[in-house]
Symmetry: C2
Subunit: 360 residues, 2 copies
DNA sequence: TTGAAAGCGCTAACAA
DNA sequence: TTGTTAGCGCTTTCAA
């Protein structure tokens, strides 16, 4: 009942119960505890029960780091994306998290914010963690030095028994050990452009997307191929690269509207660029789709909230995330070796909503 | 020059370079390598260089699991949210990731999909990982059994030297060792309701949010307080709880419109519910804000894309995520003990856009 | 300034 | 069915 004396133990770092503690309480060896918990080895029912009681009474959970060190896997996958809050990446991340979870894995997430140096550094951080797979998402720079450095990391990961999964980004070159899940980026752009042309549009403004960036290159390739297929000449003035992002769409569209550039439809590099474009058009008193048609890419939820509802290209983002994990963990599920295919391409298709009208 | 013979070593698990390999190549002891790499101890310049060369030539990265086992921290924080792709959670997650990154931590993310059993299990999974902090985000059930179980985990985490940070959810009770970052949920709802009343609205429909849920309770409390402050009687028919989410907003609004319930404004429990409500109203030929006013909560980007642009309550989501990490890591930054405050409340305020009109 | 060696908590032979 | 023990790769005394 007296006040407890202040001991010198003020700085002992708190520490959790260990398997040895459980063993002691249960009156068995640590090996038995390990087996009882893993359940992969015969343990007497009575023993198992004693162990379980000890576990409960000590509030014991195994130390995953020790487990990873002793065992073969960390039960973790890593995912590197641009931005956690960007819906394009968030939906892929959702797929990754869900599939990882289904496969008994936890998910280490990191954002580059578009910095490729950082991207390289993050792969190394994940390598330190010994994740079962590292999933790299989104468009990539075509800078050769960068590609070389990333290829080196792919090889390192491979040598470590992990794997680099490229999700929605181009190959690092033949011979570089990666897996990949791609989507038909070019095909979606082709289909959309062709649709616009079928609606009578001839002068279509393509706007957004960083140049020297794989995603931009693919979408533009589909765009140009559709033009060519219909015998429409490319006009450099109608291709306005720059960035993904609402501000770019808004600002660049404003600038263009201040010129006398002639166009009847706008193909925004993605839905959020389209939102910016739409606002610029609105402010100029131009009605969509009556005065100008507008389309986007990605089919993120926002596309359906815009007014008019945005016609866009659907990309199965969540599926891509799931497949990336499946591919990355393929060597774990079976007893190694029999990995099926290393690359997978999912389809895209256009979603027709209300933002396109035949050219009058 | 001959073909390499196929050895029996077909099934050796690939394994990365270790600190011992580096030591061997550099011709020093592992302790020296450790010190050279950590940089926290004097090492001869020449030695350091030899080590760095060895590291580079072996493509060595330290094993974070071994490091965590030997050292004191895993340099990891865990975050548990409802859904990775839900913007409310995604923005908080962005703040968490950014602050964690700034503090040299990696971020383990997991989604409950609204399942509280799973939430409990996920906390345990994070406990196994020995994360420096676990951040639990979003509204919580008020079920006593659930609260008790979570409180037990908070205590376990605390005993382990980690910490449970409650982010945007109510306390687990006095004496339960947690930290928390809250936002003025009630105040935001009060301010918004008062604004609606000031615009002449008397019959305001509150729609959405699961019942028996802390977030709903707070928002409703603010709503009712504002009503009371202006001497307006509560009408149970005007409070329609159910769920967060666009489908609920749409469906319930449709149902209500089929009745003769009288109201001139709708307060949606959050922005995405508002999007659903807006669609239902539109389809009914009701114009917002001319025929009925509509407001939301959270101020996610979508609110600004709706037409009319949605008047809503701004919640500093990213800040909350950052603060949660700061709080959780507070004991690490200083030499333990001198942790400042354990709870932080950030403010909310209304953002007036175009979806409210004075009642005519 | 460097090395030797004792753990950190767990798994997985190997024995019994 | 259970116990003993040798690592897993690193950090950190303790000595030199």
């Amino acid at each position: 009942m007296s006040t407890p004396s202040i001991t010198a133990a003020a700085h002992v770092r708190p520490t959790s119960a260990t398997i040895a503690d459980v063993a002691a309480v249960a009156g068995v060896s640590v090996a038995t505890v390990s087996r009882a918990l893993a359940g992969n080895y015969p343990v007497a029912a009575a023993t198992r029960e004693r162990v379980q009681h000890a576990v409960a009474s000590l509030n014991y959970v195994p130390n995953a780091n020790a487990r990873a060190l002793a065992g073969a896997t960390t039960r973790t996958v890593g995912i590197i994306i641009n931005d956690v809050a960007d819906p394009f990446f968030a939906y892929i991340a959702r797929g990754v998290e869900r599939q990882a979870s289904a496969d008994g894995r936890l998910c280490l997430i990191m954002a580059t914010n578009g910095d490729k140096e950082r991207e390289l550094a993050l792969v190394d951080l994940l390598r330190e963690r010994r994740t079962d797979a590292v999933i790299l998402v989104g468009g990539a720079s075509d800078d050769p030095a960068y590609r070389k450095q990333m290829a080196a990391r792919a090889r390192a990961l491979d040598a470590d028994g992990s794997v680099l999964v490229l999700c929605g980004r181009p190959s690092l070159g033949p011979g570089v050990p990666t897996k990949m899940v791609a989507y038909d980026n070019e095909g979606g752009a082709f289909a959309m452009t062709d649709y616009l042309i079928s609606q009578g549009h001839r002068r279509i403004l393509y706007i957004g997307g960083p140049s020297n960036f794989s995603t931009t290159a693919s979408r533009l390739a589909g765009f140009n191929r559709a033009l060519a297929a219909r015998g429409i000449a490319e006009d450099p003035a109608l291709v306005q690269q720059g960035a993904f992002g609402r501000p770019f769409g808004y600002t660049r569209m404003k600038e263009i509207l201040a010129t006398d550039l002639d166009f009847s439809a706008v193909f925004a590099a993605n839905d959020v660029v389209a939102a910016g474009v739409l606002q610029a058009l609105e402010e100029q008193g131009l009605r969509v789709p009556d005065d100008v048609s507008l389309v986007g890419y990605d089919d993120v939820p926002m596309a359906n909230e815009l007014r008019p509802r945005l016609t866009t290209v659907h990309v199965p983002l969540e599926d891509m995330g799931r497949e990336a994990v499946r591919l990355g963990l393929a060597d774990f599920s079976h007893d190694a070796g029999a990995s099926s295919d290393d690359t997978l391409t999912v389809g895209t298709h256009i979603i027709i909503r209300d933002s396109v009208k035949p050219r009058s």
